[in-house]
């Protein structure tokens, strides 16, 4: 084969490039939309110490070492058909909750840092020590419509199952107006303490759990910078980086109050 036969004209080169680019675009759109769909599964409960979902998905290499480290077989790797990011670890508390091991073997085994050791540790004398209660997998939410304790039936299954007994879930006493002589003992979740381990969901006696763990990003609102607790020094920290632009400008607020009040009075002349 001579070299001449390999040579192509500029037009041919252009045509070939367009073709290749076109095929790559087709593949990219198909592949990309698949990745996008898989990524957009916000309802997933990750192992303890997991980074924020967006960072977790860039960091987790799907090796399954956390799954193998879990002594309770709580964790699973997502498989096709579950509509979750393939190969990433998650758990379903109603089936098997997280028992909050004190030495957190799943986090210890993670090679990538997608399960962040620091987030589930505390500093003791300059050294990091496991503190599994800092875990924030999600947050338990009570369906007060179907929780039988809210009906007035005595049930404290979730309260007793909670590893942070009387801290993450407390029983709030209330008067039962219907009978006039009984008390409600309603489970109440303290969302700042709840680890999201799901032991409550696992223990719930109703057919479908009436207390269940949701990812914090779904269950919790966000105040933003418009409101702060003036009585709470820590809450003021939250708006430290809010920036200078905290005033809202409208057509009206451009003028002085006296001016716009006088201007806009309907005056009969």
């Amino acid at each position: 084969m001579s070299d001449d036969s390999k040579k192509i004209t500029r037009k041919q080169f252009l045509a070939q490039s367009v073709k290749a680019l076109g095929m790559a675009t087709v593949a990219g759109i198909g592949w990309g939309s698949f990745v996008y769909e898989l990524k957009a599964a916000p309802f997933i409960l990750r192992p303890p110490g997991a980074l924020k979902e967006k960072d977790f998905l860039s960091q987790c290499i799907k090796c399954g070492l956390c799954v193998e480290a879990c002594p309770y077989d709580t964790l699973r790797l997502a498989v096709p058909g579950e509509n979750k990011p393939l190969g990433t670890p998650y758990f379903t508390p109603r089936q098997t909750p997280c028992y909050l091991c004190e030495d957190i073997p799943c986090v210890a085994s993670c090679p990538t840092g997608s399960l962040d050791k620091k987030s589930v540790s505390k500093e003791v004398d300059g050294a990091l020590q496991w503190d599994v209660n800092r875990t924030r997998i999600g947050v338990a939410v009570v369906d007060t419509e179907n929780c039988i304790a809210y009906w007035g039936i005595q049930c404290d299954a979730c309260y007793r199952a909670c590893p942070l007994l009387d801290k993450a879930i407390t029983l709030e006493m209330d008067h039962n107006e219907r009978t006039g002589k009984h008390a409600f003992l309603k489970p109440f979740v303290h969302k700042d303490v709840c680890t999201g381990c799901g032991l409550c969901e696992h223990a719930c006696v109703t057919e479908k759990a009436s207390i269940y763990v949701l990812p914090r990003s779904i269950a919790l609102g966000r105040v933003g910078t418009n409101y702060i607790k003036g009585w709470d020094k820590r809450d003021e920290e939250r708006i430290k980086n809010a920036g200078d632009n905290v005033r809202t400008q409208t057509e009206r607020s451009k003028k002085k109050p006296v001016d716009y009040l006088n201007d806009e009075l309907p005056v009969d002349e």
Binding site: L38, I61, K62, G64, E68, V79, L86, T112, G113
Partner: protein, 269 residues
């Protein structure tokens, strides 16, 4: 065409390696043995030597992941192993997909025999485009894009952690190889194979061809899954380069001892 009844000792050795590695991973997961734990994306050998899939590592870099020391160490180990020595041997000696693709290729012989001329030819360079696309999509979606859809990972994870509906994709790849494109997945599509092709370019282990001994029976070309690498057979002596997986099927097929495994200095022409 010659009968393909010949020496199979290398194929047997490969099957033993492939299944042995899978069994060690399964025993690591199910029985808690610590010879090999994790999976082909990231594993720990003997509980302390990390091994990272370097292509997954590269995608994570593009996805903007924060890289841990374990990941870097694991990547260096694997890069040295394959980049300096074994070349693209991963595909033929470790990857579980290879077993399926070779079965498909074997079954295809019958299909081709009974309906010749029904060939779809596809460029073997597609995989390099897909490799680039994987990196591009990793940037766009902040996640290792090939890892989310990789049939190799789905098969390997499936064997260790369970398939879910993942078997459908594996079946699709098998049928693609069987009825659509010969050696379709491993030889044309798989960007992981493309990656190992690139890093294995200067690897020491290669198959060498002795032109003097060759009788030009072309039996090697019948069995080779990466046909273009054998372009020098019957023309000149030298090392088999390019996308060669070091599967050694050409060595088995050769009745003239004109092909053998060799250590070849890549910088000596």
């Amino acid at each position: 065409m010659s009968k393909l009844k010949h020496d199979t000792h290398l194929t047997l050795a490969r099957r033993a390696t492939q299944t042995g590695i899978i069994l060690l991973f399964i025993s690591g997961s199910r029985l808690g043995w610590d010879i090999l734990q994790g999976n082909l994306s990231f594993s720990r050998f003997l509980d302390f030597i990390p091994m990272t899939d370097p292509f997954a590592f590269l995608q994570m870099l593009f996805a903007g992941a924060v890289i841990s020391t374990d990941m870097i160490l694991g990547t260096v180990i694997v890069l040295v192993l394959y980049g300096l020595f074994f070349g693209r041997a991963f595909c033929a000696w470790v990857c579980p997909m290879n077993i399926l693709s070779e079965w498909a290729a074997r079954l295809r012989v019958w299909l081709d025999k009974n309906k010749p001329g029904s060939r779809i030819t596809v460029s073997r360079n597609i995989r390099f485009w897909l490799l680039g696309l994987a990196l591009l999509l990793s940037i766009v979606f902040h996640t290792a894009a090939f890892e989310l859809i990789s049939p190799v990972s789905i098969l390997h994870r499936g064997l260790i952690f369970g398939f879910g509906l993942g078997w459908t994709l594996i079946l699709a790849v098998f049928l693609f190889d069987l009825v659509i494109v010969k050696n379709g997945f491993c030889g044309h599509i798989c960007p992981l194979g493309a990656f190992y092709t690139l890093i294995g370019k200067y690897a020491l282990l290669k198959i060498s061809h002795n032109h003097k001994a060759c009788t030009q029976c072309m039996d090697c070309k019948v069995v080779c899954p990466e046909l273009p690498v054998l372009k020098n057979i019957g023309k000149e002596s030298g090392a088999i380069t390019g996308a060669c997986t070091r599967c050694g099927r050409c060595i088995e097929a050769c009745n003239d001892k004109a092909l053998k495994f060799d250590i070849i200095n890549p910088f000596k022409n």
